[in-house]
């Protein structure tokens, strides 16, 4: 379970997170939505422990990761998988070495076993046959699929997705969402997505939150979000220029 309690973060004079509190159930697919620049990526960086809040608590299975030492934090991170916005693949090594990386770092496996796991994870995301390519030779969608394979390599309990479909064409978006559903159905992992792609995330999520003005403006099931009368949610759903979400 992930729980945030009154998390604040400010850069200079700009308040990005202004008392964010929510809870994410174990085994659920939860999405944090919001406009570009709303602070979604900042929020996910806090959840991964890449940023420290000015105040507040971030609890992962009741352990507060705020102020935690590097060694303890790394123990928790070993239970994570993260799919970064652009995949964040290591461009100096091949696809198979990217997926093998966390296995080599954290498990003492034979080369044969590593090759088997890499093959299995790449097959899961439909990237069999691309093992020896380098990230520069892959399309945006392929990079995200390899990123997902790498994020799943250690069979994590928790996977974070930072804008998993940004910059992708509608068909590739569909492929990514299908992969999210399929991989989630294989094991009951907790998936946390941040995205502004409302249509896609409402189809795959169990719970959706809207981040607006540094706070969670609404939290509910996709049905509750769709039927919400909240002006910010309505504006986000309809994509209207008029509403509380001012155009800057």
């Amino acid at each position: 379970m992930i729980r945030l309690e009154d998390v604040h973060k400010q850069y200079g004079h700009q308040k990005v997170l202004d008392g964010v509190s929510f809870e994410i159930r174990t085994g659920s697919v939860s999405t944090i939505m919001g406009r570009s620049g709303a602070g979604k990526s900042v929020l996910i960086r806090h959840l991964i422990g890449l940023e420290t809040p000015d105040s507040g608590k971030i609890l992962i299975d009741n352990s507060n990761i705020v102020g935690m030492g590097a060694r303890e934090l790394n123990k928790i991170r070993r239970r994570f998988g993260v799919l970064f916005q652009e995949g964040a693949l290591f461009d100096s090594v091949s696809v198979k070495e990217n997926v093998a990386f966390p296995l080599r770092e954290h498990l003492k496996l034979s080369e044969k076993r590593i090759a088997d796991v890499v093959h299995e994870k790449l097959a899961l995301v439909g990237m069999t046959g691309h093992e020896d390519k380098y990230p520069a030779a892959l399309s945006g969608g392929m990079r995200k699929r390899v990123g997902l394979a790498r994020a799943l390599a250690l069979d994590p309990e928790l996977v974070f997705f930072d804008e998993p479909t940004s910059g992708l064409d509608p068909i590739t978006k569909g492929v990514i969402y299908r992969l999210i559903e399929e991989t989630h159905s294989v094991r009951s992992i907790t998936y946390v997505l941040v995205s502004h792609d409302i249509e896609g995330v409402l189809d795959v999520s169990d719970e959706v939150m809207l981040l607006f003005e540094g706070k969670i403006a609404m939290k509910g099931t996709p049905e509750e979000i769709r039927s919400s009368a909240d002006p910010a949610v309505r504006q986000f759903l309809t994509g209207s220029a008029e509403g509380p979400m001012a155009i800057e």
């Binding site: 960086r45 991964i48 422990g49 890449l50 590097a70 790394n74 123990k75 991170r77 070993r78 994570f80 993260v82 970064f84 916005q85 652009e86 964040a88 693949l89 290591f90 461009d91 990386f101 966390p102 770092e105 954290h106 974070f160």
Partner: protein
């Protein structure tokens, strides 16, 4: 001034964290070897080329000055002293700044801007241990041999030019070198090279590791790394020379 002090502080913190990680497992032997190959082996041709031409230039200039006092047989000893104590470590370091320091900053800066460093941290791998420690260690270990190769190449160039072009007797040349250059001179040069390797690699890694602002930011960081490393090599050279004078 405040920014300068903050930056120096941040560089020292990075150095301290690198030193701590150097002695903590997991030890990344393969990464060390890769970096030593990149910093060292792949720099040898450049070092030999620049070293030999520097030696030849020094021979010509030295001959020009010493000939006026009838002391042209001292060309070898003069150049050898300059090479061992000064030119070997300094020019080798400046060559490594240009070839390796800039590449370190650009590579780490690019990794920072494409979230590869964040990806390492999210996979419970300390990015300083994985990326910075092998580079700093490799540059520190490899620069003394490079300085030695530079000095040796310079002396070969100096010898060939002095004996075959300037007409200095080979035996006299070598005798003067042996008489005037001792182990201390070579030792001073090697100590300098160790310090230069440490300085240039820490600055290059720092600038890359914390580079922001996309491609432009990486470009600016690389320029700053090269300038700052070169300046710091020359400034530290003065202080070390004064100390070991």
């Amino acid at each position: 001034m405040r920014l300068f002090v903050e930056e120096v502080g941040a560089i020292l913190i990075l150095l301290w964290r690198s030193l701590i990680w150097l002695f903590r497992p997991p030890f990344r032997g393969l990464e060390f070897v890769r970096q030593m190959d990149f910093v060292g082996s792949q720099s040898v041709v450049l070092i030999v080329l620049t070293g030999s031409f520097t030696g030849m230039v020094m021979a010509l200039q030295g001959y020009n000055g010493l000939h006026r006092y009838g002391a042209e047989t001292m060309v070898g000893a003069t150049v050898a002293l300059a090479m061992a104590r000064e030119l070997g470590p300094v020019i080798a370091a400046l060559m490594v700044v240009g070839r390796v320091g800039s590449a370190m900053t650009a590579e780490l800066g690019s990794m920072r801007n494409t979230q590869q460093i964040d990806a390492l941290a999210s996979m419970a791998v300390d990015p300083i241990q994985y990326l910075v420690v092998p580079r700093v260690f490799a540059a520190t270990v490899v620069l003394p041999p490079l300085a030695g190769i530079f000095s040796f190449s310079g002396m070969v160039g100096c010898y060939l030019l002095s004996v075959h072009y300037l007409g200095i007797d080979g035996g006299t040349f070598m005798a003067a070198v042996r008489y005037y250059v001792d182990a201390d001179d070579i030792g001073h040069g090697l100590v300098k090279a160790v310090v230069f390797g440490l300085i240039l690699s820490v600055i290059a890694c720092y600038k890359g590791f914390y580079a922001t602002g996309g491609a432009r930011g990486v470009g600016i960081a690389t320029t700053k790394a090269v300038v700052a490393s070169s300046v710091m090599v020359l400034i530290s050279d003065y202080f070390m020379t004064a100390l070991m004078f």
